[in-house]
Symmetry: C2
Subunit: 313 residues, 2 copies
């Protein structure tokens, strides 16, 4: 039985596919975590309150710990749109701009307030915008030093550079995961592929090709078809070869305009274990070092935001 | 009524989606053209002969003109796999390697032979392969001088450089059209878009962004989402903006490793009118000139191959 009397925060990581709620104590340590496939795409007709109570209703009824959420829940498709704070952004600036949403009462449970963490926006040379939601909280939770580079792989992979006081100085999104999904599921490249096994040697070959050819990415990706047609890579090696190509293109792209990067010789990977292992292997091919972030980066980030917002009692 | 007595060749352009058959005279001029949505993806259970007879059966029965086809009909998914001739490849080399397939007789119609034009393959630095099928015939039909650059936009856009004697010296594929289709139909970028109208100014903005950011293409494409989120480009301008981004990335990529290109200041566009207009506009933004190929490039290419193969009687 968990000692819920120590609970000081209900920390919610609410993304596109999943909802994960954690009970944290006064030091930010996790007492209990629950998750459900209740991401914003799974919530029908704006029934966010019901979804939240389905996962954490008992906590909300019996504990007066505040509720803080980060992720796509604050997007236009989420519960209520939270701001995008411009970079460079400190945790203090973000904590001062939380968006409140009232969680209606339900039976004996009274109404509660949910605090949503804003996302970040950046502007690149030439005026191009970039955005993140949720990753900023993980970056803060990873406790990175100024000059560090955080890499958060995923559907939309994020590279972020840390500035003074742990602020997020600038960041950049790569559509690596989405492109892999589209090309393998709906595109012509998937037709020659056999999925299932892992083939590290073909992954490494793809990474090298992507690193070398990133300047002509939409050409280089076609190599995943010709390598299949010509028999250079067997059907069961093609998924890893394409994955390597796309990750190689991403890594070379991230450094394309600012080589060499100060402090980037060691990159901190934040996220899913398998994906981080894949990126660590690719970074090694690129001659870059990588370390893993502390495991509780997400809950710790939510705790730090709550602390900075003086929500902890 | 067409004067079919002058017919000397049945020229067939047989692709993934469509089949187009033309009757050509002794000079390669078109007497009549017929087309059908009978591309190789539409042919069930290998019924290629039935498909061909449905379009050109009367010609095959009443005329003894030879049948020559180019395109995906010679791919592994087509009727019979034709070779890939390595670059540099001349029309003579290709004409010496036609693949024959017997077209079974049908009722009163006797059997016939179909000659399939091989595709081309190229190998890039580092060993990466490239392939084309059908475009080689169009390039020959366009009558280009040594040093010329041919650009054939499409699902898999091809850039080809012409060598001595009109041979195809080398070429490069870009997945521009396929990526546009995947990203707009199945990806997150399409969700903010409104399709229909043409917006040249957003297309031009996309081209500029793509040209400047081609070295980090999988990042730059994400600008089609953030420009929508931030309201920089309205929903109805986003399809053209993404199209511009991808074409800009392609153009800059094509010149990335070999700038400046000899003879590339004027590029010959071969293909669909709307798509060629779009590429001509993008090339102009890039400071490159473009001209259109003669309209009968495909049939003329088939006629030249047949001539080189001594099939014309």
């Amino acid at each position: 039985m968990n000692d819920n009397t120590k609970a000081r925060l209900i920390a919610i990581d609410w993304g596109t596919s999943n909802l994960r709620a954690s009970l944290l104590d006064g030091e930010g340590a996790v007492i209990e975590t629950r998750s459900a496939p209740g991401g914003i795409m799974a919530v029908q007709e704006g029934r966010f309150a019901q979804q939240l109570r389905a996962v954490a209703g008992d906590w909300m009824q019996t504990l007066d710990a505040p509720l803080v959420a980060s992720g796509m829940i604050g997007s236009r498709q989420g519960w209520k749109e939270a701001a995008y704070v411009p970079c460079p952004a400190s945790i203090g600036q973000v904590a001062a701009q939380l968006t409140q949403v009232e969680v209606a009462g339900d039976g004996e449970a009274g109404p509660r307030t949910l605090h949503i963490v804003p996302g970040l926006r950046a502007q690149h040379e030439g005026g191009r915008h970039d955005v993140m939601r949720g990753e900023e909280t993980q970056i803060w939770g990873a406790d990175l030093a100024p000059g560090a580079c955080a890499l958060l792989p995923g559907t939309h992979s994020k590279w972020a550079w840390v500035g003074e006081g742990g602020s997020v100085k600038r960041f950049q999104t790569f559509m690596t995961g989405e492109l892999y999904g589209l090309l393998t599921k709906h595109g012509i490249l998937g037709r020659l592929m056999k999925f299932g096994e892992s083939h590290p040697q073909h992954f490494v070959a793809g990474v090298k090709e992507g690193l070398a050819g990133h300047a002509l990415a939409t050409h280089v990706i076609f190599a995943a078809r010709t390598a299949g047609l010509m028999g250079t890579v067997p059907p069961e090696g093609l998924p890893d070869y394409l994955s390597g190509l796309l990750i190689g293109i991403e890594i070379a792209g991230a450094f394309a305009h600012r080589q060499p990067m100060p402090g980037s010789s060691e990159i901190t990977l934040i996220g899913d274990d398998d994906l981080c292992d894949r990126y660590a292997a690719a970074l090694e091919v690129a001659g870059l070092g990588a370390r893993r972030a502390r495991e509780d980066a997400t809950t710790r980030g939510l705790w730090l935001v709550a602390q900075a917002a003086r929500l902890l009692t």
